[in-house]
Symmetry: C2
Subunit: 189 residues, 2 copies
């Protein structure tokens, strides 16, 4: 029989399921392979659209999503678009914010800390002479990203800071954005 106690659900995370998942993967590490996917199609100008639905996890294709997620990307007029959506660099900031936040919430749940508020503000600065091909003195992307967190919960400030630090050490997107990932691009002929 499955019972759910109020202590089991912490920060909206089912900690029994969390520890059960960890145990299942410890028992069979082959379950740990995940493959996430995105399909993008150009619409017009700076406007393109990604659909996200299927992924591979725990030994099989996941079918939990009845409908795909649809994401529109665009550019503001100063970058020759019409604000058809956030621009790609802004989506990267969102991916980073979301991953750090979820990692933080899960770490807090596992450690018995109830959070009441988590907010973050991110800013990335770039000199577009790089991406526009005008100067080799500047990289194409952000020179740096600054993240400010505001975290409230039923733990001392020091513990909350430790949880934020742990979230950084475990976040998939923080790892990718800070350390980089090999990317292979193929063109279908």
């Amino acid at each position: 029989m499955t019972t759910t106690t109020s202590e089991q659900i912490r920060n909206g995370v089912d900690t029994a399921q969390l520890f059960g998942t960890l145990d299942a993967i410890k028992a069979d590490p082959s379950l740990a392979t995940f493959r996430f996917r995105a399909r993008n199609r150009w619409v017009d100008g700076a406007h393109n659209r990604t659909t996200i639905q299927d992924f591979y996890a725990a030994g099989g294709e996941d079918i939990s999503r009845a409908e795909p997620f649809v994401l529109d990307a665009g550019e503001p007029p100063i970058l020759l678009g019409t604000n058809q959506g956030p621009n790609p660099a802004e989506y990267l900031l969102h991916a980073l914010a979301a991953c750090l936040t979820t990692s933080l919430v899960y770490v807090a749940a596992a450690r018995g800390v109830h959070l009441s508020e988590v907010e973050s503000t991110l800013e990335g600065e770039m000199d577009v002479q790089g991406a526009l091909g005008l100067s080799d003195d500047y990289r194409n992307g952000f020179e740096r990203i600054r993240v400010g967190f505001r975290v409230r919960g039923d733990a001392p400030e020091e513990k909350l800071r430790e949880i934020v630090a742990r979230a950084q050490r475990r976040s998939a997107v923080f790892d990718m954005v800070t350390n980089g990932v090999p990317v292979e691009v193929e063109v279908e002929s």
Copy 2:
């Protein structure tokens, strides 16, 4: 007087504006500083929400967006969520797809190539023993990302491939994802 010819708009990109922007930045490189931002707020469990609106560009705050873009992130049930949105790693794939595509479309416009179709499929593979803290043998993020492009236009295949290669060399998100970016995290006390 501003006139627009059919040749001026190529792939939905106003090439006169494109070259005008390049000339303006060449004349005053201080216009090239851009700062993009995202604000994220935890909702519950794996669910958090980012708003994106203002940014700094060309010497001032941009006010072209009357309303913010709102993005929801979540996790599938196997990662303890309820599919409240794409997950953060999927958003990173989308950011990469969108940036490569826009770069490709702009490069083609600048070079006089009319595109008829641009599609891409991305897949990133990870072993979640890393992010779950179960093993130090695996990184937290994707081990690699594979991108497949299908590009059609009024240029020979070799030229289209060259445009894809140029897009990689100029894409802001491709740079960040492949090379990494310094990220500073501060916690407000």
